[in-house]
Symmetry: C2
């Protein structure tokens, strides 16, 4: 049993979220210590009604994070789509069900807004993640293509 | 030489865009004739400074469409990411370079906003599309996972 609360991130959570993003085989190379840039980015996300930076909080400890983006679109008869990015669970808590709890909660948020599709991309090297998302009902139906600008 | 203009869609473009979305092997099954829902969706996109519904216009004719979403985020030091969705070229004009022109223009918009990454997903059955995006510099580095809510 966990007493995990999912809530919008606050300013005070930003350093902890950045640490979670960096504590990752792929993320480690792309984060820097420029906290001002992160705070500006946080403020942009926080002010946007179609973006939510979420933290998983256990008794005041930040144990996970993810970002939800609600993308409006014409297709599927005008339903928003839920996109999930930047999912991280604190490394010592992986494999214990917290990720499942987070994604299940995210999907509920999407359903509550009337989204018809949830989507995410995960690096082809993250084989455990593919299994994890497939277990939650996601289909690896698409190629996720990226380009560095 | 084409005189293609890329511009934000207007109300008047919506029926033509929906027709382009439906004129597609995968899209055909998921669009309906409920124009009011599409107009509401158009208004939501149009009012959102992080979303742009774009049309390719040749002498007043709608020849292509795509949607750009600028996703704010903490990672990559707080840069927005450009997401491209719902790319369609009018069927009689495919294979003639218009798609390349559209995506090149989209990437310029992303660079202009300081995006560090451009991303999109494309169904695994769209093998021609994978080749097309790879030719523009995209890497198929990720699994694109989807779930129907």
């Amino acid at each position: 049993m966990s007493d995990t609360v999912f809530r919008p991130a606050t300013h005070a959570d930003v350093p902890g979220i950045v640490a979670l993003l960096a504590d990752d085989a792929l993320g480690a190379t792309r984060e820097s210590p420029d906290q001002a840039a992160y705070l500006r980015a946080f403020e942009a996300i926080d002010a946007d009604p179609r973006n939510a930076l979420v933290v998983a909080d256990r008794d005041g400890e930040l144990v996970g994070t993810m970002q939800l983006t609600f993308i409006p679109g014409l297709s599927h008869n005008g339903a928003e789509r839920l996109q999930i990015e930047a999912v991280r669970v604190r490394s010592d808590l992986r494999g214990q069900g917290l990720g499942r709890e987070m994604i299940t909660w995210a999907l509920e948020q999407g359903r509550g807004r009337g989204c018809r599709t949830a989507q995410l991309t995960t690096h082809k090297s993250r084989v455990d993640a593919h299994r994890f998302y497939a277990g939650l009902g996601f289909a690896a139906s698409h190629e996720g293509m990226k380009l560095v600008l």
